[in-house]
């Protein structure tokens, strides 16, 4: 029976080629939009994830705060190798790890001054760094030498410095006093949107000197996984393992460390070292509104389109069913059940939806591939928010399949109203309806 249903449904669709083609193209158009918008948001998310996790946060961070008195917290892990040793065998997902110093300083140069968020890096431990940082002036190797700094273009402009120039960093140490260090500009890198507004990089040792920290002290052990999707799982595992090993571990809290430092930790009543295991999503939560906004905008657009298409489907099917009044009446008269009529008309909509959606998805994927291939450079302001230079859509087959399923389901649901009307049709219409 299902074979015959399929056959009838397909033939019915073929009977009104123009009308159905029009509807299928509308369905296809919406699917293509979905695929492209989805590709855009996924692309943004992936670019953000990639740039941000390479520059600012690991997929999972073994970090923490140290408080000498309950009101003076520093974002450091003293003797980081001990807690790391306690957990390092528990991360089969590990790609690589790198300790990162965390700090904040005022940079002063001849041309001006500004606040910088400092990351203390050991370049030799960070294979990803080279891939994300694009040096436009100077050389990245220089950053391996002590007493240097890597700035982004806008920062260099603001401070009025170029590679080889010196600037002074002034930072509050854990003991409350201020300390300064002179650093030489090693390189100037291309802006990476929002990330390059305040972040600068100096060698880990230089950061420790600035803050007068011991050799075994770092800000966070940034842990990179083979698949970032495992972050939450790994973070939970590490938290438990560290607790078992006797460390004081903070409860999960989706905020970046600097928010915790400014608004949370100092208000708590404890001293000494506490560890804090976070994921890149926690550290990036202040950026996620961008993705949310784009996703939302896309959703509004797609919803409007879908409503239009749904109305089209309802109308077209209603017409098709009215035209077939006598045929449906005949089928009912000779013994077809209402549920079978319903199934038949729904099947027709399902086929139409599936055909349109598959075609649209292919079109969307092709257009997306074309856009990616064309290497379109984004306008500055968009680069700023999207953390990427060229337009890049990430179109994944699994996600496309979800869109196709979604649009097909929507078409079928929209068809349920005219289909229910068809199913309620009385068999007498087979005799009475003329034409």
């Amino acid at each position: 029976m299902i074979a015959t249903d399929l056959f009838i449904a397909a033939r019915n669709l073929a009977r009104h080629t123009r009308r159905n083609l029009l509807l299928a193209s509308a369905i296809g158009g919406v699917t293509a939009m979905l695929v492209l918008l989805g590709g855009l948001t996924t692309g943004m998310r992936e670019a953000m994830l990639h740039s941000a996790t390479t520059l600012m946060t690991g997929h999972v961070n073994l970090a923490g705060f140290f408080k000498i008195t309950s009101g003076t917290a520093a974002p450091i892990v003293a003797g980081w190798e001990k807690p790391w040793d306690a957990v390092k065998d528990r991360i089969p997902e590990l790609d690589y790890m790198a300790p990162r110093g965390r700090g904040w300083a005022k940079a002063v140069a001849d041309g001006g001054s500004m606040d910088l968020v400092l990351a203390g890096v050991e370049l030799s431990r960070e294979p990803g760094f080279h891939k994300v940082i694009q040096v436009v002036d100077g050389s990245l190797e220089e950053l391996g030498k002590p007493g240097t700094i890597l700035l982004f273009q806008d920062q260099a402009k603001r401070l009025g410095v170029k590679p080889g120039d010196t600037l002074t960093l002034s930072a509050p140490t854990t003991r409350g006093a201020s300390n300064t260090a002179d650093v030489r500009v090693a390189a100037v890198a291309r802006n990476i949107g929002l990330l390059s507004a305040f972040n600068a990089f100096i060698p880990a040792d230089t950061l420790r000197q600035l803050y007068q920290l011991k050799a075994g002290t770092t800000g966070a052990v940034q842990i990179y996984l083979k698949d970032p999707a495992d972050s939450a799982k790994v973070a939970a595992r590490l938290r438990a393992a560290l607790r078992d090993a006797g460390w004081r571990v903070m409860d999960p809290d989706p905020q970046p460390y600097w928010q915790k430092l400014m608004f949370k930790v100092n208000a708590e009543d404890w001293t000494g070292q506490k560890l804090d295991v976070t994921t890149w999503e926690d550290e990036m939560s202040f950026l996620s509104w961008i993705v949310t906004a784009v996703t939302w905008l896309g959703n509004v657009l797609v919803t409007v389109l879908m409503v239009i298409v749904a109305v089209g489907i309802v109308n077209t099917l209603a017409i098709a069913i009215r035209e077939r009044t006598r045929e449906i009446g005949t089928l009912r008269a000779i013994g077809m059940q209402r549920t079978q009529v319903l199934r038949l008309t729904l099947l027709e909509a399902f086929l139409l939806g599936l055909g349109g959606a598959v075609a649209g998805a292919l079109l969307g994927a092709a257009v997306g591939a074309g856009l990616n291939g064309a290497g379109i450079e984004l306008p500055e302001t968009m680069q700023y928010f999207l953390l990427q230079r060229n337009l890049h859509l990430a179109i994944h087959p699994g996600q496309v399949a979800v869109y196709v399923a979604f649009v097909t389901a929507l078409t079928t649901v929209a068809a349920s109203w005219p289909s229910a009307y068809a199913a309620r049709m009385r068999p007498v219409t087979a005799m009475h309806h003329v034409g």
Partner: protein, 236 residues
């Protein structure tokens, strides 16, 4: 004595047409025995179609009872009524009413698919046997639009008979055909009636068509005004 295939007792059908009520049938009593080849005759608007609809279970009476093969149609659920039509009644329509997108073979096969009881081999044998019987064995793969009116009605006859129902209803089966072709259709129906003992009830205006009937029930203004047996009918 087996029970009659159709038994209508004091049947009335009232249609609401805006504010006025149309009494399409009043106080109709009718018994049809198994194996009859019964014609329902009467002028236009006399209620022939209405009566066939009630017997066919595509509609239920406003009052009175209609029993088909022992089942009281107004006591059945929509589902059971549909099942009664599928298993016990074959329909032949004035306008043929074939499914345009299906081939001749598929149209005839359709009731068997709805029943879902036969294997595809059995279905093929059954459908081919019927197409043979109605003289359309060579047209199995054609679509209805490629056939003449007479051929289409033959397909309809085959479809009505394919599930081997005890009762076949035909509302003016020859009205859209020329008299020669119409005569062939009636001959075909009569042959099936004789061969399988299937009861046929058909309506018609045409005296020549009526003359084939084993009995004629005359309707006028929604009432049964007479019933003639074969001899009387053929004498006309």
């Amino acid at each position: 004595m087996p029970e009659p295939i159709v038994e209508a007792v004091d049947v009335a059908k009232v249609y609401q047409l805006g504010k006025t009520q149309v009494h399409a049938l009043r106080h109709v009593d009718l018994v049809v025995e198994r194996g009859e080849f019964l014609s329902i005759a009467g002028p236009s608007g006399s209620g022939k179609t209405t009566l066939l609809n009630l017997i066919g279970g595509v509609d239920v009476p406003s009052s009175g009872t209609v029993r088909v093969d022992g089942e009281d149609t107004s006591k059945l659920t929509e589902r059971a009524l549909t099942r009664l039509r599928l298993d016990h009644i074959g329909f032949i329509f004035q306008t043929f009413n074939l499914v345009a997108v299906l081939t001749v073979f598929q149209n005839v096969e359709f009731p068997l698919l709805l029943q879902g009881r036969m294997s595809s081999d059995d279905r093929r044998r059954r459908v081919n046997a019927l197409l043979e019987a109605v003289g359309l064995a060579d047209h199995a793969r054609h679509r209805p639009s490629e056939l003449s009116g007479g051929q289409r009605q033959r397909v309809a006859v085959a479809r009505a008979l394919v599930a081997n129902p005890p009762l076949v209803l035909a509302d003016e089966p020859t009205a859209n055909l020329d008299s020669v072709t119409g005569g062939h259709i009636i001959d075909l129906m009569r042959e099936m009636n004789r061969r399988d003992g299937t009861t046929f009830i058909f309506s018609t205006h045409d005296p020549k068509v009526m003359s084939h009937a084993s009995a004629i029930v005359r309707l006028e203004d929604g009432r049964v005004v007479g019933r003639e047996t074969a001899q009387g009918a053929e004498a006309r």
